[in-house]
């Protein structure tokens, strides 16, 4: 039996808790950005995802993603119900921590990914349809992609695609799914007019919680309390900071004010883009990645505003485009001087790595787009996706949950 390491185990368990906090943090980030009549429903989307995917992951999600490989495509049912996932390590994934700690850490990634999508269909999706969509999407989209990229024997992992903490698995998949969901659902009533965020203090609190949790997301992905975790931690922080500075600067220049919303959005863009690269690049490269991502995502948001797709909280331009930028720049800036288990990128004499990253990005875009559309059609065949016009006017808090957020 492999020997457990107390420090590694403690760090991964704490990291799992940090990543868990990101999901309600995301709820507050999104909740601050919607109108007052929809804040509870938005918070509920994230909290419910935490509950339902926690159970789905133990029962069948984990084994589909990380179970013994079947032709590089999917995990088999050996770990159904966490069967065999206990105190002993699984050296295929992490030799010094309990297999259960690894599975728990991965659970939190599976939880937040469908929660990220909810920003696209905020303020108009029926709760029951959201419930069914989340379970089906996690099973048919997230679990297979996680296997391809992170599973032992997964075909993209075998090709050498690099994704340290989820640029493709989490952010591209959720971003592309968000675009498809927003398109299928159609725009909100009054889309195109101003839908002002109801509480920017809540939005910034949420962004702060997400940033804090992201240290577990990225540095925890080292799966050990070691130097690589420290580098990933530094990279995460500095990319978020540079993203915030760059986005704020563009907003100040183009819109006339250094808005609080711009620093929050920029920090999130930087965090997303550094996610696939955090354990493969230098801190200097992380600064560049954060800044480039902020510029790219800002342009994508402006472009999205001209499209007739009401991605309410800009999930696609930030997560989809930010994840894509990060995945591709990983193929540029990666160096084995940081992580010997990784690869060199374009700047270090290995242009092939960029092509592999491009292939992984393209595959995840296409698979997610097609399968998300299919899942939405399945849900539509069972129940309506959207609330009625009257329910939307009244707000989802009252019409879906029979509660109001604030006393009057």
């Amino acid at each position: 039996m492999e020997k457990l390491n107390a420090g590694d185990t403690a760090w991964v368990l704490i990291s799992a808790a940090l990543v868990m906090l990101m999901t309600p943090g995301l709820g507050f980030f999104y909740g601050g950005l919607v109108r007052q009549k929809n804040v509870l429903s938005t918070l509920m989307h994230s909290f419910f995802a935490l509950c339902v995917i926690s159970v789905q992951w133990v029962l069948w999600g984990y084994t589909l993603a990380f179970g013994p490989d079947w032709h590089g495509v999917i995990g088999t049912f050996a770990f159904l119900g966490f069967n065999g996932v206990g105190a002993a390590p699984n050296p295929d994934y992490a030799a010094t921590i309990p297999h259960a700690a690894f599975a728990l850490f991965q659970m939190m990634f599976a939880v937040i990914t469908p929660a990220l999508i909810t920003g696209a269909f905020a303020e108009r999706k029926r709760f029951a349809a959201f419930v069914l969509f989340t379970i089906l999407w996690a099973t048919l989209v997230y679990d297979p992609i996680a296997h391809w990229v992170w599973g032992h024997g997964g075909w993209l992992a075998s090709l050498g695609a690099l994704d340290f903490a989820g640029g493709t698995v989490v952010h591209i998949s959720s971003g592309v799914a968000a675009l498809v969901a927003a398109w299928v659902l159609g725009p909100r009533i009054g889309s195109g007019k101003e839908h002002a965020p109801h509480d920017r203090t809540m939005m910034l609190l949420g962004a702060s919680l997400v940033w804090f949790g992201w240290f577990g997301f990225n540095a925890g992905s080292a799966l050990a309390a070691n130097g690589l975790a420290a580098i990933a931690f530094v990279n995460t922080n500095v990319a978020a900071a540079m993203g915030a500075l760059a986005w704020m600067t563009i907003a100040w220049w183009r819109e006339g004010a250094p808005s609080v919303t711009s620093v929050a959005a920029g920090s999130i863009a930087g965090l997303i883009a550094i996610t696939p690269a955090a354990g493969y690049v230098t801190p200097a490269a992380a600064i560049l990645i954060g800044g480039i991502a902020a510029v790219g995502c800002y342009i994508a948001v402006r472009f999205r505003e001209r499209m007739h797709v009401d991605d309410a909280l800009d999930v696609f331009p930030v997560h989809g485009i930010g994840g894509t930028i990060g995945a591709l720049l990983t193929g540029v800036f990666a160096t084995t001087a940081i992580n010997a288990a990784g690869s060199n990128g374009l700047l270090y004499g290995n242009p092939r790595q960029l092509l592999i990253q491009l292939l992984a990005v393209a595959v995840v875009w296409v698979y997610t787009g097609v399968m998300t559309y299919a899942v939405l059609k399945i849900v539509t065949s069972i129940m309506p996706l959207r609330v009625t016009e009257r329910e939307e006017q009244l707000g989802l808090d009252v019409s879906q949950h029979a509660e109001a957020a604030y006393a009057r």
Binding site: K37, V55, Q56, V58, L59, W60, L80, G81, N83, R126, F127, A128, A129, V131, L132, I135, I382, M383, V387, T388, R390, E391, L394, G395, V398, S399, Q400, A402, R408
Partner: protein
């Protein structure tokens, strides 16, 4: 055996959510008074 029971319980929950989702008229939860208040707000 415990896995079968847990799986069955969860799938029963999902089936319940689907049944409620197909049947429910959430707006019925909103009283006429609340509608008036929200419209006025």
């Amino acid at each position: 055996m415990d896995i079968v029971l847990a799986l069955g319980s969860f799938l029963a929950l999902v089936a319940t959510w689907v049944a409620i989702g197909r049947r429910a008229e959430p707006l019925q939860l909103v009283t006429a008074l609340e509608e008036e208040r929200l419209d006025a707000a």
